[in-house]
């Protein structure tokens, strides 16, 4: 019998290695897998490359991981925010490398990784500083920039409901990067608020099929709905 549901966050993250690339779901606070990030801080892996849309909000979640000094490099589209003081401080002190990627390229580069695409030509950022030094090509009169996939060692996903085969549903706009990063990492871990028996999820409504998921762990819903904004 296959059972991808593990007993604890610690079990789910036990084998994360130093130097790993961690794909983290979430857009601002929505879909941010805070329980898994707290678990990763506890687990202790360091020298990490983190991929997320943002670079942490407030002092919890991703910001706490940065603050703990575990992250060497962050790949994201929108680091600077009103409450990104942890990132700002580390970046200005030269303690954190930043690769700034347009948001759609960030998503598509991870989609490409999950889909086995070696590289792709994308019109975004053509003629801008973010395309400097990159190969370009004119195709049917339009200009494109060559972009490479972003593969993860581990993906940390916040989903809503999971089953023992790793099938997942999400909640509202918390879905954002979840289904994309699920396919792009060697080991994709989903935190869920409830687990159901096989068949408990309508097959027509499963958003991430279990083939992309290695581990599922049930966590308690935070008291405050506002986990960050």
């Amino acid at each position: 019998m296959i059972n991808k549901i593990v007993n604890s966050v610690a079990d789910a993250l036990a084998d994360v290695k130093n130097g790993a690339t961690i794909l983290v779901g979430g857009f601002g606070g929505a879909g941010m897998p805070n329980d898994l990030i707290d678990g990763l801080i506890e687990q202790g892996a360091r020298d990490l490359t983190v991929v997320n849309n943002n670079a942490g909000n407030g002092d919890t979640g991703l910001a706490a991981l940065l603050k703990a000094g575990r992250v060497r490099k962050i790949i994201c589209s929108f680091p600077r925010q009103a409450d990104s003081h942890v990132f700002d401080g580390l970046y200005r002190a030269g303690k954190l490398e930043l690769e700034l990627v347009p948001q759609g390229n960030l998503a598509e580069r991870m989609r490409a990784a999950g889909a086995g695409v070696g590289a792709f030509f994308c019109p975004t950022a053509y003629g801008t500083d973010l395309a400097k030094g990159k190969e370009t090509r004119e195709i049917n009169g339009k200009h494109y920039v060559l972009e490479y996939p972003i593969h993860g060692d581990v993906a940390l996903i916040k989903a809503e409901i999971g089953d023992r085969w790793g099938n997942l549903t999400y909640r509202k706009a918390a879905r954002n990067f979840g289904p994309v990063i699920a396919a792009a990492a060697k080991c994709s871990v989903a935190q869920v608020y409830s687990t159901v028996e096989l068949g408990g999820l309508d097959p027509e409504s499963i958003v991430t099929p279990g083939i992309y998921i290695q581990r599922v762990v049930k966590v308690a819903r935070a008291q405050a709905m506002k986990e960050a904004a």
């Binding site: 680091p79 975004t124 500083d129 709905m225």
Partner: protein, 231 residues
């Protein structure tokens, strides 16, 4: 309407000492909303463009897209009804209209890049007369850059509308020959809405669609520092 405004503007005596009153931010937003037809799929950028949502006519069905994976985005919820799993690109709580949908980020940006969005409305630091857009980075050495979805929207939407003040606080035109700020996209802007005028960017140069009352086309061109024709 636009031709009349233009005509009125031209017949009024030129008076550089403010014979005209700039449009308010809400008036600019209302003007943008006039150009959005029923059935359009529209993305409103963060900042000034979000005001456009308040001016969309209630009787028309217009689909608002949010880059984080929402189509059919509705207004802000009542106080106490906020759901932090349902936020917009500016990370403020929103609602979903009946018939709306959620999707993941790669799909959301495919909607942009794939040419499925009819209109996006963006703010800007500068727009060039050939439609180059600069709105993501001041280029200041100590600034932390952040780009978000601006570059994807700029190349993807069928029409890119820009909403901005016409002049900087120090009195320089934000419509320029060449952008001095780092570019977001090359030749992407279709139309610019400012507190002074609505201006089309065409292969034949800038064309004023309408101008605030009391400001002539010549005065507008002088303030802008670029040739502008009547549309």
């Amino acid at each position: 309407m636009s031709a009349d405004v233009l005509k009125n503007a031209e017949t009024k005596p030129a008076n550089p000492a403010k014979s005209y009153k700039p449009r308010s931010r809400d008036a600019i937003a209302a003007r943008v909303a006039l150009d959005i037809d029923e059935g359009a799929y529209v993305n409103l950028g963060i900042g000034l463009p979000t005001l456009v949502a308040n001016h969309l006519p209630a009787g028309k069905e217009i689909f608002l897209h949010s880059e984080n994976g929402i189509l059919g985005m509705g207004p802000a919820p009542a106080k106490g009804e906020e759901d932090w799993d349902l936020i917009n690109a500016g990370k403020q709580p929103v609602t979903l209209l009946t018939g709306g949908s959620y999707f993941h980020h790669a799909d959301s940006f495919s909607m942009m890049r794939g040419g499925h969005l009819d209109i996006c409305v963006l703010g800007a630091f500068q727009v060039s007369e050939t439609g180059d857009l600069a709105n993501w980075h001041t280029g200041a050495p100590d600034a932390i850059p952040a780009v978000g979805g601006a570059m994807d929207l700029a190349v993807g939407a069928k029409k890119v509308f820009v909403m901005m003040e016409h002049m900087t606080k120090t009195g320089e035109s934000k419509l320029v020959k060449d952008c001095s700020y780092p570019l977001t996209g090359v030749g992407v802007v279709s139309r610019v809405y400012t507190d002074l005028a609505t201006i089309d960017i065409t292969p034949q140069g800038l064309k004023a669609v309408d101008i605030v009352e009391g400001l002539s086309l010549d005065e507008l061109a002088k303030l802008t520092g670029l040739p502008i024709k009547a549309a």
